[in-house]
């Protein structure tokens, strides 16, 4: 959309230039042509598959659009008020909040711990790094399957039930019963297993960027190894990475879908926003109007988070920002 307008603007001044500048003009025009040759395919795709869908969806969100994407009944903000007063949707936002409250600090601490551990190993460091990193390659679906069908299977042959059975504890229905909400243990551990290695790599890179002189100076000043140096040198030096990791975890948690969808299929509890949206738009009702309104609400929410992220880190600066 915006690509075509800018190209139009670009050509008119060039055409109006005087003949004395012919040579220079050819150069500029050649460059402009090259620019569009390189970026054109991407920008067209971006317009068609990113901007148009969002625009169309914004349009749909003001219409009654069930089973159709070319609706005719304008309903104003009805879809929005429907979604915002819909218990399921608001509950899904609560579910996200609970989920984020667990997964963000736990993954942060755990992956930092792994990085510190691996960083101190002298032998077999590459081996341990690889082992902790290995789950990163596994899909959420495959991991959910292992968790649901084997580790946290609610029947006696599940690994966890076998283990607690050795201590004489009764079987627990990990997923099939929301009271007590054991399903959070399953949800959090599966994501922790999958993602800790990824964030460990980020922390490891950051740890290796800390100048060793800082530790030497601290040692000369009499700081004790261990907690003191960690608290006053390592942690402050990791601030940029920590902030990045926390925001990444938050955005990732917001998009959580795969493990909730698969682990809690056929249940009505523990539905985060995207799962709820999936059932609204693609479930029985195929309510694209309400689904689009929901997507718009979520988009606005995520924009707030990413804008905060941009403010904290500056786009693209990453580690170098510090």
């Amino acid at each position: 959309m915006s690509t075509t307008t800018t190209s139009g603007v670009a050509k008119s001044p060039a055409a109006a230039e005087t003949p004395t500048k012919v040579h220079k003009r050819r150069g500029v025009r050649g460059r402009t042509l090259s620019f569009w040759l390189f970026t054109g395919p991407f920008l067209i795709g971006l317009a068609v598959f990113v901007y148009i869908p969002i625009g169309w969806s914004a349009y749909l969100s003001f219409f009654e659009a069930r089973y159709t994407v070319t609706p005719s009944t304008f309903v104003g903000f009805d879809n929005y008020s429907y979604m915002l007063t819909n218990d399921k949707f608001t509950e899904s936002l609560v579910t996200f909040t609970v989920f984020a409250a667990f997964i963000v600090p736990i993954t942060w601490a755990f992956s930092l711990g792994l990085a510190l551990l691996v960083n101190r190993l002298r032998f077999m460091r590459a081996f341990f790094r690889s082992v902790f990193f290995l789950p990163t390659a596994v899909s959420f679906v495959a991991a959910s399957l292992i968790w649901k069908m084997s580790i946290f299977s609610g029947v006696r042959f599940g690994l966890m039930n076998t283990v607690i059975g050795w201590f004489g504890v009764e079987n627990i229905a990990w997923l099939a019963n929301p009271n007590p909400p054991w399903y959070w243990l399953v949800i959090v551990t599966v994501r922790l297993w999958l993602q800790a290695g990824f964030y460990m790599i980020l922390f490891l890179a950051a740890l290796q960027n800390i100048p060793p002189e800082l530790y030497e100076a601290a040692a000369i000043d009499g700081a004790k190894q261990g907690w003191q140096t960690f608290r006053h040198i390592t942690l402050p030096q990791l601030r940029a990475t920590s902030t990045a990791v926390i925001l990444l975890l938050l955005v990732a948690a917001f998009q959580a879908f795969d493990e909730f969808f698969n682990l809690l299929a056929k249940t009505t509890w523990g539905r985060p926003p995207l799962v709820e949206l999936y059932y609204t738009a693609l479930g029985e009702n195929q309510d694209y109007g309400a689904g689009s309104a929901g997507a718009m609400i979520l988009t606005l929410l995520i924009c707030v988070v990413t804008l905060a992220q941009g403010r904290f880190m500056g786009f693209g600066k990453g580690e170098e920002a510090k």
């Binding site: 670009a10 040759l37 390189f38 069908m149 029947v155 990444l248 917001f254 170098e320």
Partner: protein, 292 residues
């Protein structure tokens, strides 16, 4: 090579006063326990994939199958209820084309934005940057609306094409090309090569490391993607491996040995990536660290 790459190679740590035998034994003990826990799920996949259902669901926990059931493999591919072979093929096609297409489209755009002077380049870059604010997963309903009106539901192009235009990958390439040594290209341009010629003859051959890193990450995320393939794969013929795996979990009849054999096969390509391409993978992670 690039300004955005944190060094991954370990520097020798100069301060190590405390490394007594006891404390390092403790470290290795902790690392060992952690590693064992991290490997349990992999062990479970292999154990279950090569056992009979009777052994998996038996009263007493068995650490290893009594007889290794290689027959599970053929049984999986003969199973008519889930078209697993078809889904493997779909995933392969999708994974490869998704990777090749994304790299091609996004690297070109990244290069154009980084290196070809054009007065509106900054404005256009903002058009790309804005899309980074909204993760594609959040807009799956709008995307589905578009793709379904194109008639692409349950088709390979529906699975592949909408995912090619990643603002994030374009952004990464732009950052990378900003750090690419200018002298190389300028020499080529003086020799009469166009931007296009210089790109393919000089820039790409000298950037293979970066391309390999991005390709590895892109392939993994394509292979593991679930939400979009679930939305698009309404017919069984268009299922990817992940959708097929998911269907096993909701099936009426549960055949544990088949389910885990399917899981094992689904993660094989990634184990391969891990064993042989880990260098690119770690580099890719370090470079794309900003991504979720």
């Amino acid at each position: 090579m690039t300004t955005t790459t944190p060094p991954v190679v370990g520097k020798p740590r100069s301060v190590r006063r405390r490394g007594g035998v006891m404390s390092s034994a403790g470290l290795y003990f902790a690392a060992g326990i952690g590693a064992a826990l991290f490997l349990v799920p992999f062990y479970l996949i292999v154990r279950n994939a090569l056992s009979t259902d009777a052994e998996i669901t038996g009263e007493n926990w068995k650490w290893f199958p009594t007889d290794i059931q290689w027959g599970n493999l053929t049984e999986l591919f003969d199973d008519p209820t889930v078209p697993f072979a078809q889904s493997l093929w779909n995933s392969t096609v999708v994974g490869v084309l998704h990777t090749v297409g994304t790299l091609l489209v996004c690297s070109l755009a990244g290069y154009g934005l980084a290196r070809i002077p054009y007065k509106h380049a900054n404005k256009i870059f903002y058009v790309v940057l804005v899309t980074l604010m909204v993760p594609t997963a959040v807009t799956f309903v709008p995307s589905f609306v578009l793709v379904s009106s194109l008639g692409w539901v349950s088709s390979l192009q529906g699975l592949i094409v909408p995912g090619l235009f990643s603002g994030f990958t374009c952004f990464l390439f732009r950052q990378y090309f900003l750090g690419f040594p200018k002298e190389l290209e300028e020499a080529a341009r003086v020799d009469g090569l166009s931007y296009w010629g210089a790109y393919w003859r000089i820039v790409v051959p000298n950037s293979l490391n970066f391309f390999a890193a991005i390709a590895t990450i892109t392939f993994i995320s394509g292979w593991n993607a679930f939400l979009w393939p679930l939305v698009i794969g309404q017919d069984q013929e268009a299922w990817t491996v992940q959708v097929a795996l998911s269907s096993y979990m909701t099936n009426q009849t549960v055949n544990f040995h088949l389910i885990f054999m399917a899981t094992a096969i689904s993660i094989l390509p990634l184990v391969f990536v891990f064993l042989f391409l880990q260098r690119w993978l770690v580099q890719g992670i370090a470079q794309t660290g900003i991504k979720g």
